[in-house]
Assembly symmetry: C2
Homo-oligomer: 217 residues x 2
C-alpha cells in the first residue's frame, strides 16, 4: 500500500499547495487554529470545497476550534513532498529561467533546483543564483549524477522539441514546459504545458466575452 493517497485530483493538489502557503503565513504569525470558512474566504472558494479537499487527505477538524494549523501543514507536506528532496533542473537560463530559480531559492521547499543548462558560453561553467550552469552536451551525465527527476523548460520553443529524446533517455519523470512547443512524452512522464501566451489569451477572451455579454444585455 502506498503511504500516501496517490489518486488525488489535479485541482485538489493545486488547492492543497495554495492552502499550505496560506497556513504557513498564519503559522508564522502565531495562529494555531483556522476554520474551514476562513481558509475558504481567503481563497475565494466555499467552505464545503475546503472540507472536501482535506477529507481526501484524511484530515478532519476540531468542530470548536477549526483545523490545527501546524498539524495540517505537516499533513499537506507529506502529500506534496514525502520524505525526500526532489531535485530539479532548469533548462534555459534567460530571464524566465533566472526568475524561476531566484523565486525557488528564496523558498524553503523540498523541491530544489540543483542544476541549470544554457547554450550561452558566458553562462556555462558559471554559478547563477547559486546553481551551477552546465552545457547541453553534459545533459544526461548531469541528470544522472545529480539524481534529477524533474526538468523545467524555459528555453526557445524550437530548441525544446529537440530535448524530448534526451529527456526520455535521462529517465526524467516530470516536465514543466513553459515553451510554446506542445511536447508529447510517453506514458509515465508527467508533463505540464504552461505557455504564457495561452494563459494570457484565455484571460483576454473572457474579458472580451464579458464585455460583449454586457453590451448585449
Amino acid at each position: 500500500m502506498p503511504n500516501f493517497p496517490t489518486n488525488i485530483p489535479e485541482k485538489t493538489i493545486e488547492r492543497l499547495s495554495e492552502y499550505r502557503r496560506t497556513l504557513l503565513k498564519y503559522h508564522r504569525q502565531g495562529v494555531t487554529h483556522i476554520f474551514s470558512h476562513v481558509l475558504a474566504g481567503i481563497h475565494g472558494i466555499t467552505a464545503v470545497q475546503v472540507r472536501r479537499d482535506l477529507m481526501l487527505i484524511g484530515f478532519t477538524s476540531d468542530a470548536k476550534r477549526g483545523y490545527d494549523v501546524g498539524v495540517l501543514i505537516e499533513f499537506i507536506n507529506n502529500i506534496l513532498y514525502g520524505e525526500t528532496t526532489t531535485n530539479i533542473a532548469v533548462i534555459g537560463m534567460g530571464h524566465l529561467g533566472q526568475a524561476i530559480t531566484k523565486y525557488f531559492n528564496s523558498k524553503q521547499l523540498k523541491l530544489k533546483i540543483t542544476a541549470a543548462f544554457d547554450i550561452d558560453p558566458s553562462k556555462v561553467g558559471q554559478t547563477i543564483d547559486e546553481i551551477p550552469c552546465y552545457a547541453m552536451s553534459d545533459f544526461e551525465q548531469v541528470m544522472e549524477n545529480n539524481d534529477i527527476s524533474i526538468v523545467i523548460l524555459s528555453l526557445p520553443a524550437k530548441a525544446a522539441t529537440e530535448l524530448v529524446v534526451p529527456i526520455i533517455n535521462a529517465g526524467i519523470k516530470g516536465v514543466l514546459n513553459f515553451t510554446s512547443a506542445p511536447l508529447n512524452f510517453p506514458q509515465g512522464i508527467v508533463v505540464e504545458n504552461y505557455d504564457i501566451t495561452t494563459i494570457l489569451e484565455k484571460v483576454a477572451y473572457f474579458v472580451k466575452a464579458a464585455e460583449e455579454n454586457e453590451a448585449n444585455q
Copy 2:
C-alpha cells in the same frame, strides 16, 4: 447578439490558442490543409476532441482535404482577439516581468504590452524592452491614458495584495496573477492565478504518485 460565441469553456479556449500556434507554423511552411487527426496527434489529444472544439466555434472541415489552415486561423483569431488590440500592463519588471515582456514583443499578437510599472528608481522613467516603465504612483492615470484592460502581476506577493483596490478603481477587466498571493476580485473581473510553485508542486506530486504506484504493483 454577440458577434462571436461568448460561452466557450476554458479548456477549449486554451486548446484553440494552442491549435492556432501550430496552424501558424504550418501556414508559414505553405501547408494549406490539415486533418483533425494530424492536429490531434501534434497536441497529444484525440481527433474527436479537435472536431468538438472546432464545432463549438462553428468550423467544419472538407472531409477529403481536412481543415483549410488559413481560414481556420482567421476563425480562431476572431474568437481570441476580435477586431481591436487589447492593451496590457506588466506590474513588476524584475526577471519574470522582463521575460514576459520580451516574449510578447517577439510575437505578433493583438494582445500588446504597452506599459510597465516598477518601484525601482533605476527602472522608472526608462524604456525596457521598448515599453515605458512608470512609477506605481502613476498607476490609475497611466491605465486610463493607455486604455489598458488587463494587468500582469509579476511583483512580490506582499506588494500584490495592496494592488487589489487600485486595480478595481482603474477599471481593469482581467488580471493574470503570477504571485503566490491569492487575490480575490469582485465579479466582472477575470482573474487567473498562476503561481509557479503550485504548478511545480503539482508535477512533483504526480511524479511521486506514479513512482509509489509502480513500487506497489
